[in-house]
Symmetry: C4
Subunit: 209 residues, 4 copies
């Protein structure tokens, strides 16, 4: 009976995409709120304000980091959704799980912003990225196994989607491991990896990864 219900329940790619766009938009806006605007009292002139803004630099760094993270996962999820011919109820739930983890990004970002020199905060941030990657990998392999993928997508392209996730996650894991030295090294390395994914087509010597 439940199987019968599940056969026609919750299977609209458009609705998954719309929910995702809304949730990403909110997450992208909430992470800026971590960059707290300085309070007016105690700041008497432009110089004092400049000093207060410079103090926000670490929080701006976590904003950049998290916007890149969200942007990369948005493009990644969108690439999958654009190449599905249909969805089913289970795929909807896999994407809801993905979105539940996207919704925790403002928490992880805020935690890292508050404790930017703490290894634990960085590891939790990385774990958030890791499980996002794992779920996104699984949504695609699920779509492949259940014939939900567009027929006109070549097997090579389909494999590229999976390989891309594995390589990126390996680089993120290496970056996270750098926190044994210093959390800023981790953040810097991960931001560089992300910028590579964003602008790589311009840098031919990085094309191979």
């Amino acid at each position: 009976m439940a199987k019968f219900y599940n056969a026609f329940a919750g299977s609209s790619i458009e609705r998954i995409a719309a929910l995702s766009d809304g949730l990403f938009a909110i997450a992208m806006t909430l992470i800026v709120l971590e960059v707290h605007v300085p309070e007016a009292h105690g700041i008497a002139n432009d110089t004092a304000l400049l000093g207060a803004l410079v103090d926000l630099a670490p929080r701006m760094l976590t904003y950049v980091l998290s916007f890149l993270t969200l942007g990369i996962f948005w493009v990644g999820q969108q690439t999958q959704l654009n190449h599905l011919k249909r969805a089913d109820r289970d795929l909807s739930w896999l994407h809801l799980l993905f979105l539940a983890l996207i919704a925790t990004m403002p928490f992880s970002t805020s935690l890292l912003a508050n404790f930017i020199t703490f290894r634990l905060a960085l590891v939790i941030y990385w774990l958030n990225i890791l499980v996002l990657g794992v779920v996104l990998f699984f949504t695609w392999s699920y779509a492949q196994r259940h014939q939900l993928v567009d027929d006109d997508l070549s097997p090579e392209a389909s494999a590229a989607i999976c390989r891309r996730i594995i390589i990126a996650q390996s680089l993120y894991a290496f970056g996270a491991a750098l926190c044994v030295y210093n959390t800023y090294w981790s953040i810097g390395f991960i931001v560089l990896v992300q910028l590579n994914y964003v602008i790589a087509p311009r840098l031919p010597w990085l094309e191979r990864i």
Copy 2:
């Protein structure tokens, strides 16, 4: 005259779906904000931070509970909207009522997170779920009575949508009743019921419900 106006007012399924996706996305993101990031002062090292995070466990539990609740109702509402051939003004308002109750989920979640051992908080949370189910049941029976349902949806499928709501609500009510013993029993039972609905197709012995 009003009847004349109402005949052409507010009848776009796409707009209802878009408003719903936006509202669900916001509710899903707001419930995470209940998991307060620890304040930096007073936390000197990773061990202290870990302790502060462990203290957040009950709030993470309510986050999981509410994300499942929102996800299940999102899938449930979407299943209905996907199988309508058209909407009318009254159906729009029934869905707005549904959304008004979805919008209160962050409140109920926050109340339960703040008072997780209080029976009253749990009962209010359950009442929120209950009225959501009642309204969703009513939106479907309204759509059926007013010939808004897709003609290619079988009567069996249509009946399954109603039966699903009744069975789920019965289980939630039983779970809520467990709070006479302990609120954690209630939360645990409801989460298990919800997980069953999410992943049940994998568990054949639960197929019958």
Copy 3:
């Protein structure tokens, strides 16, 4: 030159609708945040919690009021957008003005929730409703004058859209005037008028308005 640019700028009904749905969804969710969840300290048992929740009744009333307001204007704007054949840049800006006023509803709601017995708070809330009605009236008359309305919409239906706004605003103005006696009278009357618009088709004796 500017005229030339304006001839092809910003004229997608779908984008106006999507922005509106997002903004309405956020406003509908933010107004719930005015119903502050009681703080845990100082509340020792269910009875104390119940007392704290009863104290929230006025804020729940303003939530209901504002959700009805937002719902009515959402249906009203949607009715217009559904019956346009195209938009132009000026209509986009009229709808942006409408949305700028929708975005202030959480402010007006919060003001009324904080000062529910103050006539000024009620008058400001009513002014917000009034300007929303005025702008919505003007968007429709603009659409009519510039041949943006669907050709298959009868002149009677088109006139009904304007008449509906005028009658509703007259009733709201009367309700607001009741605050010379008591703000609760105003709120009660406005909520009744709104409920009439929401469920009126069920009450034949109110059909004429």
Copy 4:
């Protein structure tokens, strides 16, 4: 390999538009939250409340300023997206960069609201507008260079999109420079320029800019 992946990744104009609409909707709503509702204690009557509201005038001014800014950039971005025949991965990222800067508007607005007489706050606000203009200029020139623009858009129209950005940004820069005299002069001038863009078609003598 990466080039291969990038050839089919993230290229849906609809998804970019949907994410943009969500993010603009949230930013437009968040900037109102800067207009803090007065606290109830210490305000005993309507006169005291009126005084507290009058004190909010500068924050209302920054709300108007920022809503105009967001509205103008929303119309500007939409105009571009409406006239693309397709997107590619790099264009997606250029629009994500644009959105990352839109997401910082609530921060810039809040900073200006808190420090409305500080030149630094105004310069930062203007820098936010400037980089938005630069990115929007670049998204269009990118789309032109990579044949992403609709074939039925005349070269004149395409050039008008770029010229419009340059003229507007020149005026904003002049307005920002007025802060050497007084920040209110800057804000006033920029608001006037923006209102000109919004309602200019009604003022024939301003048509030439």
